[in-house]
Amino acid sequence: MKRKTWNPKVVSLGVICLAVLMIPRFITGTLTLQYIINIMIFAYFATCWNIVGGYAGQLALGNGVFVGIGAYVSAVLFNYEGISPFIGMLIGGAICAVLAIFIGSLTFRLNGSYFALATVAMLHIIRLTFMSNKYMFGYKTNGALSLNIKWRGGFQNMQFENNVGYFYLIFALLVVGILISWYIKNSKMGYYLQAISTNPEAANSLGVNVMAMKLKANAISAFMLGVGGTFYSFFLNVIDPSKMLGYDMSVQILLFAIIGGSGTLVGPILAAVLLVPVQDILRGIVGASVQGLAPMVYGLILMIFVYYLPRGLWPSIVTLYENLTFKKKQRMAKDGR
């Protein structure tokens, strides 16, 4: 047995983590911190979606709706029942998981394209239901109008005076999300999901209960998205249903995962880091008068990637790196024997 040496990947990750933790020391601008928080929260969302969309290969276009559901549940419990969002997020996540299992049991029977469309239909049904009812289950959710989260302040209420607190909180969320995603990827579930994504019939004959596995992945992903919804809405202090339950945000989340490289751990995060700032940069250049520039750019980039680099940014970088360092040649030389 080889003696354990420091894995270079782990070391560089550790360094990155430390570096990120140091950021609020040097960057005090509230706006800049906000931009970075945006990156982190969307990196988290993309990572969550990736479990179903990337690992399991299911193009769940509408799964972003769970962000909104999680947000509403914890906001409502906080506003009217005084329940801390740290508990509310678990309840919201659980509700999302149950919903995901229910929706999945219907949609996972469908093939690729119909499945994608069905998840969008589900998103719109949920969104329209929220937007047309001022009260949901007895609680006032304001229908199509935004729901404000009452200000009580304090860590236990996930409410901070400035962005520094949110920064650390959401960074912690991102780290946890990455750890969960990493764990799944290297576990039995990860193998099974990959098998399902490539060839579900073969997986079935090897003892994999394909439907159960897909539902499990959907539930986990939905739970995580719901929890993220809580963090996001408390950061914004308001829930805008057309945004949080909207199709646009749902597509944006999966856009990052796909451009970055669905099925990889790093991909979604890389794409979020590179693309989320585009929004803020563009707004800085042209001002608020020109709307829709950022999504336009995202759409263009998605098209370019789907056409030229379908595997995504990260896998393409890895392949490039491997080619450059002749690793591939070495491997092929070995194969001859």
């Binding site: 039995k188 490539t198 060839n199 997986a203 004959s205 994999v208």
Partner: protein, 243 residues
Amino acid sequence: MSKMLEVKDLTKRFGGLTAVNKVDMNVEKGEIVGLIGANGAGKTTLFNMIAGAFPPSEGTITFNGREIQGKPGYEICRMGIGRTYQIVKPFSNLTVLDNTVVGALLLDSNVKRAREKAREVVHTVGLDYRMDVVGADLNLPELKRLELARALATQPQLLLLDEVMAGLNPADSDKMIELVREINQSGVTIIIIEHVMKAIMRLSHRIYVLNQGKLISQGTPEEVSNDPEVIRSYFGEKRYAKN
């Protein structure tokens, strides 16, 4: 020797077409049973029913004393029946090792141990030199072995091999025949569908012959190759049967 698999009156109808018609079949523990017949005779349909791809229209399938017809494929795999596919279904973006790990994970949820087990199985089928190659980069004989490795990794009691020789040249066929024999000798009962007569005759303890969904003959390779019914439905294959 105990009866491992008992198929009684098995029938499958697709709309107006009867693909399998009241077939009876028995497989004893440790045997290699061959299943032959012209194309469209219903062999793969029979396999599909045993492996749980779809339920029969009539009849029963009993495995180690338990009725299994109609059960889903993954459950049947867990009970100890493995299968390969006529048209290979590799996980094309996973390596040979990872493909096999998927099979090995059935019995051991620990990924590390499953990988070790998978390595052994890959070695057994002779694919070590391709351990880290992804499925998409393999050639046909290698893919056939991979198919075998995956199924073996689930440590089945009964293995259904569907035309595992198809597309192989004579040299590779011989190697595959040896491999199948080794697997059988290690304790795995096998049912094998084949068109390559040399393989079936050399490997099988007993053979069942299907024609248009019906069982037309059964017995030892000798008995079957001399059965006029079989010769009639097989015509020019008699030459191979004599080998």
